[in-house]
């Protein structure tokens, strides 16, 4: 399974999403970040770090890898196009902010030229002042609904999954453990992060659904 996590706007949550998948599932990790955090954190034999202008090699089908892609797709960003071309799924994280939404839509339009297997993850979700979520479901939050409306307006039937704002996305780098691994080791983490862990399980469910259809 090859997954590209890509959005032209930075700070959308690409690296935390990519890293959590790698830590949970033992995937390899490809990155074009010039100053990545993975040295010594991800085993060398599973880490492929390139410059933006380099191409990722075409990897065989039995390699599972997540590409964590920085920058914007252009004729010169061979790293992004070479990753997206071979990806079974492109995950585009986006948060509820005007510039971020604009960039995400541009990203989806670019990526759609290569694949229709796109998943949008609505990241950094927070409740508005006084907002109550029906059934505790973040899909009822105003932030999620705004993101979903913008993505639905593209008319491409792209699924959108919620991922609430959580300090766990800093912790996975501090402790070098995935959300579930952190929760397994600390009952307080298990309590605090159960909602975001459940949301990430929905992302895994989608990944597995795409992977099963591809077989």
């Amino acid at each position: 399974m090859k997954i590209a996590v890509y959005c032209a706007k930075g700070s959308a949550g690409k690296t935390p999403i990519a890293t959590n998948i790698v830590l949970d599932r033992g995937y390899a990790l490809g990155t074009n970040e010039p100053f990545h955090v993975f040295e010594g954190f991800i085993p060398e034999e599973r880490l492929l770090a390139l410059k933006a202008e380099d191409e990722f090699p075409d990897l065989p089908g039995d390699i599972d890898i997540v590409f964590d892609l920085a920058g914007s797709m252009s004729q010169h960003a061979y790293s992004i196009t070479s990753a997206v071309k071979q990806a079974d799924l492109v995950i585009t994280p986006v948060w509820n902010e005007v510039k971020a939404l604009h960039a995400a839509i541009g990203t989806i339009e670019e990526v759609s030229g290569y694949t229709d297997q796109i998943l949008v993850v609505a990241t950094k979700l927070e409740k508005e002042r006084g907002e109550k979520l029906e059934g505790g479901d973040w899909k009822h939050s105003a932030a999620y609904r705004n993101i979903k409306a913008k993505i639905d307006a593209l008319g491409q039937d792209i699924p959108v999954l919620p991922l609430k704002f959580s300090r766990v996305f800093d912790l996975i780098f501090e402790r070098e453990k995935s959300i579930r691994q952190l929760m397994a080791g600390d009952p307080l983490f298990a309590y605090n992060f159960k909602e975001v862990a459940r949301q990430f399980d929905d992302i895994y469910q989608h990944i597995d659904k795409v992977g099963n259809h591809g077989q």
Partner: protein, 77 residues
């Protein structure tokens, strides 16, 4: 759930990009300067042209296909 090795060592070309890069790692010798293809061309296409190109390129990368076509047409002679 770690069920595979996912060892990609054999797919690395020149070494990982990190802030501090180890020197003298050996490996394949560098190409002569005259053989290095580092003059890059930007080519903008319409969506329809892009689609046609991708169909014709097939399993080969677009740039590889175009380069081969240009050579065959004698552009570099």
């Amino acid at each position: 759930m770690v069920s595979k090795n996912n060892d990609i060592t054999s797919f690395k070309s020149g070494g990982d990009k990190a802030i501090l890069q180890e020197k003298g790692r050996g490996g394949r010798p560098a190409k002569p300067v005259a053989e290095k293809r580092n003059y890059k061309v930007v080519l903008s296409l319409t969506p329809a042209e892009g689609k046609t190109l991708r169909e014709k390129a097939g399993l080969v990368k677009d740039a590889t296909y175009l380069y081969a076509a240009l050579k065959e047409a004698g552009v570099f002679d």
